[in-house]
Subunit: 254 residues, 2 copies
DNA sequence: ATCGCGCTATTGTGATCACAAAGTACAGAG
DNA sequence: CTCTGTACTTTGTGATCACAATAGCGCGAT
C-alpha cells in the first residue's frame, strides 16, 4: 500500500495477523482491546507529523491491512477523525486527507492565534522548573533538526514543544480544540517545508522559554502568538504557488 | 427506551423497521444511504437542545432500536460525537452524555468568548439585509419563548440565532470548532434553565442586531462577547449548588 | 437490616458478509 | 490518436454474529 512515506516500521505498524477465522479469537499475545485506539493513534500521529500528503486517499481495507486488523476498527477511527475534520469524506463516501485552501489556512492560523496563547497562559502556573528543563531539551532538539534539515523530526518536535506547554493547562476544552486544528494543518505544513526547506525558519521558542522562566503570562502569550504568525509569513510566499501546483496535478498514485 | 424527555415523536425518530433478514436489502421506500447521518443529526440536535441529561447513558442497541436501525450506524455516529467530546466514553467503554464541572464550564465559556466574536466579525460582511430580517424573526421568537417559559424552544432558537450569524462566516474552521463547544454545554445549560427558569435571562441580541445593521464589526464582536458572559453570570450562582446535586445523586434510571 | 458474593442481563468490540455505487481500465469505433 | 461505452475492481455501508467485560441485581449469610 505504501500510503505513508516513512513506511510501516517508523510508526510501529505491522501486518502480521495470521488468518483469524471469525469472532474475537486472538492468537498472539497482544492485549485484547485497544485496536481502534491503536489505529486512531497511528493516524493522528501520521497526520500531525504530516507523513500523509493532502489529497491522499485513506481506504478502510487498505489501512486495515497495513495495521493488521479487520476494517472494523479502522472504520470507527476514520469516523472519529472525520468528525474532527482531520479527514475529508467526499460526497461519494471516499475518505482522504483534506487539501488546504488559502482561506482555510488563514482561518486555521487565526484560530490558533486565539486559542493557543490562552492555553499557554492557563498552563504557565503549572509549569515547574523541572518541566521547563524538558521544554529546553525539546527546543534544543528542534535546533538540531533544523541544521540537519530533518523535516519529519522538526514537525514532531515542534508539536511536542507546543503541546508540552499546553498540556499543563489541564484543560479538556482547549486541548482538544487545539489538537483538532493541528491535525488539519499538519499534512499541509509538512508538504510546504518539504518544498521550501526549514532553513529560513525562525521560531520564538526562546522568547517563550524566557517568559516561562520569568513567570510572565503576557510575555508567553505574545511569544506564542508571534511564533504562530511567523510560521505563516515564511510560508506566505510559497502558498499561492503551492495552491496552483495542487490544483493542476490531478493526483499521483502510489 | 425513553432516554430523551421529549419522546421520539418530537425529533422525527421512529422505530418502524420491519425485520430485515441480513445484508443491505432495503424493503421500505427510505433512501438507501444516510442512516448514519440521520443518527448523527438526531444525536447532535438532542445534545444541542439539551434534551438528554448529563450522565444519561447512550447505548448502541438502545439508540439503534429507537431509531429503527442496526447498531452499526449508531456506532459510527457515537464514535464521531465522542471524538468531538460531545459524548463521554468511560474506561469500560460505556458511553454517556458528559457531566459538567465548574472548571470545564469556565473554559467552555472562555473558548466561546474567543471564537464566536471572531466568527461574527468574519460573518458580518456577508449578512445581507434579507438575512438580518431573518435574524430579527428568530430573536422575536426567542422573546416569545422567554415569556411562555418554553425552555426547549429557547435552547433551539438561541442556537439558531447564533449560528445563523456564524454560518455566514463561511468558515469550515471556526464553525466546527464552535459547534463542538455548543454540543458540550447544551445538556448542562438545559438542565440549569430547567431548574432556575429563563425568566431572569438577559441576552444582548438586540445590541448585536443593531451592530449588524450599522455594519460595526467591533460592536458586533462586543455584543456577542457580552451575550456569552451574561449567560454565565446568570448561571453562576446556581452552578455550585448544581454541582453538589449532581455529585450527590448517583443517577436515576428511566 | 446490612453487607458481601455470585449470577445474569446488558453492552461494547472485532470480524465477516452481501450489496450498491463509484471509480478505473480496457477495448473498440470513429 | 481520441473519444466513448462497457466490464471489472475498489470502496464504503448496513447487518449480523460470537465473545468478553462489566454493571446491576438478587440472594444469602451474619
Amino acid at each position: 500500500m505504501l500510503w505513508m512515506a516513512g513506511g510501516a516500521a517508523a510508526t510501529g505498524m505491522r501486518a502480521d495477523r495470521g488468518e483469524e477465522h471469525h469472532g474475537g479469537g486472538r492468537g498472539d499475545g497482544q492485549p485484547r482491546s485497544g485496536v481502534r485506539d491503536r489505529v486512531t493513534g497511528a493516524l493522528r500521529e501520521a497526520l500531525i507529523i504530516g507523513r500523509i500528503q493532502p489529497g491522499r486517499p485513506v481506504t478502510l481495507r487498505g489501512l486495515a491491512e497495513v495495521l493488521g486488523t479487520s476494517p472494523m476498527p479502522v472504520r470507527e477511527a476514520i469516523r472519529g477523525l472525520a468528525a474532527e475534520k482531520a479527514l475529508d469524506v467526499s460526497e461519494s463516501g471516499r475518505v482522504a486527507v483534506p487539501r488546504m485552501s488559502e482561506q482555510r489556512f488563514a482561518e486555521i492560523l487565526d484560530a490558533r492565534a486565539l486559542l493557543e496563547p490562552r492555553a499557554a497562559e492557563l498552563a504557565l502556573p503549572n509549569i515547574t522548573r523541572e518541566r521547563l528543563k524538558e521544554l529546553k531539551r525539546i527546543d534544543d532538539a528542534i535546533d538540531a533538526s533544523l541544521v540537519s534539515g530533518d523535516v519529519e523530526a522538526y514537525m514532531r518536535l515542534n508539536h511536542q514543544f507546543h503541546f508540552a506547554i499546553y498540556r499543563h493547562s489541564r484543560s479538556d476544552v482547549f486541548l482538544p480544540l487545539i489538537e483538532s486544528v493541528w491535525l488539519r494543518f499538519g499534512p499541509f505544513m509538512r508538504m510546504i517545508y518539504g518544498r521550501v526547506g526549514t532553513a529560513g525558519l525562525v521560531d520564538h521558542h526562546k522568547t517563550a522559554l524566557a517568559a516561562i522562566a520569568g513567570r510572565d503570562p503576557a510575555g508567553l502569550s505574545e511569544a506564542i502568538r508571534l511564533d504562530i504568525r511567523e510560521g505563516m509569513s515564511l510560508i506566505g510566499e510559497a502558498l499561492r504557488a503551492e495552491m496552483d501546483t495542487q490544483a493542476a496535478r490531478p493526483r499521483r498514485r502510489s
